[in-house]
């Protein structure tokens, strides 16, 4: 069978079988903990982001709506059990060639790291890893990411640790 016929049939096969894959850092390096009852897991799928982009929001500024439109998924993994151990494991598992460190905020109480995965000039994934004495949190945004707008959206949502992203332009 020649190549042009496969090019026609292959996307149809994918549609028919409903193939879907999530390729964020949490799925890649911490996938085994997604079903673990010690962890709290929040997942917002591409379907939800597509749905949100279609809704007419009157009260939300258009730039924030645009930020949401460009996101494709969000996953948060968090636990109160042995936070320091999981933080160490996360730092050891993450492929540093793929995820470049963007910003680190370290104090005597907590440690927050932001990493990005780039595709060309575009930030494809923003990963936040945060630890303090009470909990360990990993959060991954996937999409076409504008850090400035995303930090605004995150602070509006009240996501702990994301306020550190706000100062990125000044560093």
């Amino acid at each position: 069978m020649n190549r042009s016929k496969w090019i026609f049939f292959f996307p149809l096969l994918l549609l028919g079988t409903g193939v879907f894959a999530q390729d964020d850092a949490i799925g890649k390096f911490f996938g085994k903990y997604v079903e673990d009852s010690r962890f709290t897991v929040v997942s917002i799928s591409p379907k939800m982001f597509r749905l949100m982009s279609k809704v007419n929001w009157d009260t939300i500024p258009s730039d924030l709506k645009q930020t949401v439109t460009h996101l494709t998924s969000l996953r948060i993994l968090s636990t109160e059990m042995t936070p320091a151990v999981f933080y160490k494991e996360a730092m050891a598992r993450i492929d540093r060639k793929e995820y470049e460190e963007l910003i680190t905020v370290r104090s005597d109480k907590d440690n927050v790291r932001f990493m990005v995965k780039e595709q060309g000039d575009v930030i494809h994934e923003l990963l936040m890893i945060a630890v303090d004495k009470d909990d360990f949190t990993m959060m991954s945004f996937v999409g076409n990411i504008d850090l400035d707008k995303l930090s605004r959206l995150s602070s509006d949502m009240g996501i702990k640790g994301m306020e550190n992203l706000k100062n990125i332009k000044h560093k």
């Binding site: 069978m1 020649n2 016929k5 496969w6 049939f9 149809l12 096969l13 028919g16 079988t17 409903g18 879907f20 009852s37 962890f39 709290t40 897991v41 929040v42 997942s43 917002i44 799928s45 379907k47 939800m48 749905l51 949100m52 279609k54 809704v55 007419n56």
Partner: protein, 168 residues
């Protein structure tokens, strides 16, 4: 005849694959089969339901865009499942997965879970599923069908989220 066969041979395999995948969509849904199975097995010898309850609602369902989302519901099925009936949970999850429902979002904490999914049907009809599981593992399952707009779906999400928060 043989020439025709030889001409069609290169596309036979992809066509068969397509037929298999699309014929799966044409069958009665696995979730519907799950209801049927548990409607029969839930009742004991005296015809009394044990280990949970079910509620069914069907209507013609409005398809006018301006109407309230609830008036667009043409089918609603509620089901409660006890923590002790682990087999029911796993059968239900398998049925949802086989019906190719796509997740909107989920929140899991310990044994507790809040999850919303949907599946697109023919003619703009959509099936929306909401699963609320408490810390003890007891849960509620909602399945509704209708022609919903994006704004309707946002309201449905908000309504279930509100109920989910009340139950926590």
């Amino acid at each position: 005849m043989k020439n025709n066969y030889l001409r069609l041979k290169p596309i036979t395999f992809p066509l068969l694959m397509l037929l298999v995948s699309f014929s799966a969509c044409a069958q009665a849904s696995y979730v519907d089969q799950f209801y049927q199975k548990y409607q029969d097995t839930k009742k004991d010898k005296n015809g009394i339901e044990g280990g949970g309850w079910q509620f069914n609602f069907t209507s013609s369902g409005s398809s006018r865009p301006g109407d309230d989302w609830f008036s667009k519901v043409s089918f609603l099925h509620c089901l409660s499942i006890d923590a002790a009936h682990a087999q029911e949970w796993s059968d239900l999850e398998r049925s949802i997965s086989k019906d190719n429902f796509e997740e909107w979002f989920s929140v899991r904490h310990g044994k507790g879970r809040f999850q919303m999914l949907s599946s697109d049907g023919k003619g703009g009809v959509e099936d929306v599923i909401c699963i609320v599981v408490g810390k003890e593992g007891n849960g509620l399952f909602f399945h509704m069908r209708g022609c919903f707009t994006a704004a309707d779906k946002d309201r449905i999400k908000a309504a279930f989220q509100e109920k989910g928060n009340e139950n926590e």
